[in-house]
Amino acid sequence: MSDAGIATIDRTPEPGMGVFNKKLGMWVFLLSEVMFFTSLIGSYIILRYAHPDHFAPPGAILNVNLTAANTFLLICSSVSMVKAFAAIQQGDVKGLQYWLLATIVMGASFVGVQVYEYIELGHEGFLPGLDDYAAHAGGPLYGATFYAMTGFHGAHVSLGVLALIFVYIRALRGEYTVADHEGVEVIGLYWHFVDLVWIILFTIVYLI
């Protein structure tokens, strides 16, 4: 499309970023998602810097091993997403279906593990609210920031899973071909973004 400037009568529009609209749209949307997580993570950093006494040392309350395993799961799901995309680029519809399913399963189990983790922490009195916060679990800011950040990431993963299921159904109907698989590419972008955000969250919330 870069040669649109040359004098021809064909009415192809001005070159954009050289990508199809859905993909461009997703990029732009992810930028605004970045800002959203910036506000959450930013608040976390400010509060943690201002009140270190509220934040227990890594592993004291949060189950790092469990979450590490969960993180690994999410990274794998990113890989399988890449596989799915690669498959359809070769026109391998079966492969697409297979890898999409794998991604969905891993994404869903990530959410499942997170829910389990929440329940466990809840029993230990590690809660977001000030009024019912257990004395041993650091300060209330710890719980509040933890649930705010991981919770909204979890919500993003869940939405991603739903979107993937939608794409998967279309894949089963064989609606994606070598020529047209925009949907797969777009949801892929989103999935990788969610994965990336988690790696950041895991580092700053669990490890540091």
């Binding site: 006494d53 000030l130 009024d131 916060y133 257990a134 004395a135 650091g138 300060g139 209330p140």
Partner: protein
């Protein structure tokens, strides 16, 4: 606050619920109209207690030891109010009468199998006046759903900030001479009221679900009348000296006399109530860490 925080969370997150709120909210915003009509309906219900088999409790609240000196209220900032007081107004935390009795003690029936589950008619509105930047009465008792007419006789801004723990409070203002109606739907001893504009203004409302409550008067006396015969636990509450309870037996047609005695050395008793004097209590976090 946290209690209602929970259910508000539920409501607030879904738009559907929001619209529901609009519906009932519309009702609420038409002020006391709803509650007052409810009260008037209730008054037609007659008293379930048969006077022939009923008895009374009367008594007084004695005070031992030297009466603590109350601080004078500095009303220099509010000339209107200052002018209303011939003598320098004092805080009413502890008011010991000339006859050595203690006033502003809320006395009420705490337990009594005889009145369990009885439905009593809701009495007409009780008056809480703000005159000279003090609440009169300083301590009062009402029944559940009984209207409280809050009057501003000062013509300057007062706000009435009720901070109960069992139910939702309210915080309404009265910038000029006017009356507002409020009521409490749940029994609670005691509900603290305060005016944020005048830090010294506090009052206490005892909310119970029966008519057997009284406040010791200028001679320390109180009386609970026409109770069905039986055994009762009667409690006396004072904002500084805490609570005392006695078991009383009421006989048909008889009047049982009881006396509560508070003494100066109870001064740091535990008062069963969220402290109203310092509403801006930031110590919470220490409890939680």
């Amino acid at each position: 606050m946290f209690v209602l925080g929970k259910n508000e969370k539920l409501i607030s997150v879904t738009l559907l619920a929001t619209l529901v709120v609009v519906g009932c909210g519309g009702g609420d915003s038409s002020d006391s109209a709803g509650s007052s009509s409810a009260a008037s309906e209730a008054t037609v219900m007659e008293n379930p207690v048969d006077p022939s088999t009923a008895g009374n409790i009367s008594g007084s609240v004695a005070f031992e030891g030297s009466a603590p000196a109350m601080d004078a209220i500095d009303m220099s900032g509010e000339q209107v109010c200052a002018d209303k007081h011939s003598t320098a107004p004092m805080l009413q935390t502890v008011v010991v009468n000339d006859n050595g009795t203690l006033s502003n003690v809320f006395v009420y029936v705490k337990e009594g199998s005889a009145i369990e589950g009885m439905q009593f008619p809701t009495p007409s509105a009780a008056l809480l006046d703000q005159d000279g930047c003090v609440y009169t009465p300083h301590v009062m008792g009402v029944m559940v759903d009984q209207e409280i007419t809050i009057r501003n006789s000062d013509g300057l801004l007062h706000n009435i900030n009720a901070s109960p723990t069992e139910q939702r409070g309210f915080n309404t203002s009265q910038p000029f001479n006017m009356e507002t109606s409020q009521d409490f739907g749940t029994p609670e001893v005691m509900v603290p009221l305060r005016c944020d504009v005048h830090g010294w203004m506090t009052a206490f409302v005892g909310v119970v679900n029966h008519p057997y409550h009284s406040v010791s008067d200028g001679s320390g006396g109180f009386s609970l009348s026409t109770l069905p015969e039986g055994d009762y636990v009667v409690e006396a509450w004072h904002e500084q000296y805490g609570t005392q309870a006695q078991t009383v037996t009421v006989t048909a047609g008889g009047t049982t006399d009881i006396t509560f005695t508070f003494s100066a050395d109870m001064a740091n008793a535990v008062v069963p109530m969220r402290t109203p004097i310092d509403p801006h209590d930031h110590s919470l976090v220490t409890d939680h860490q």
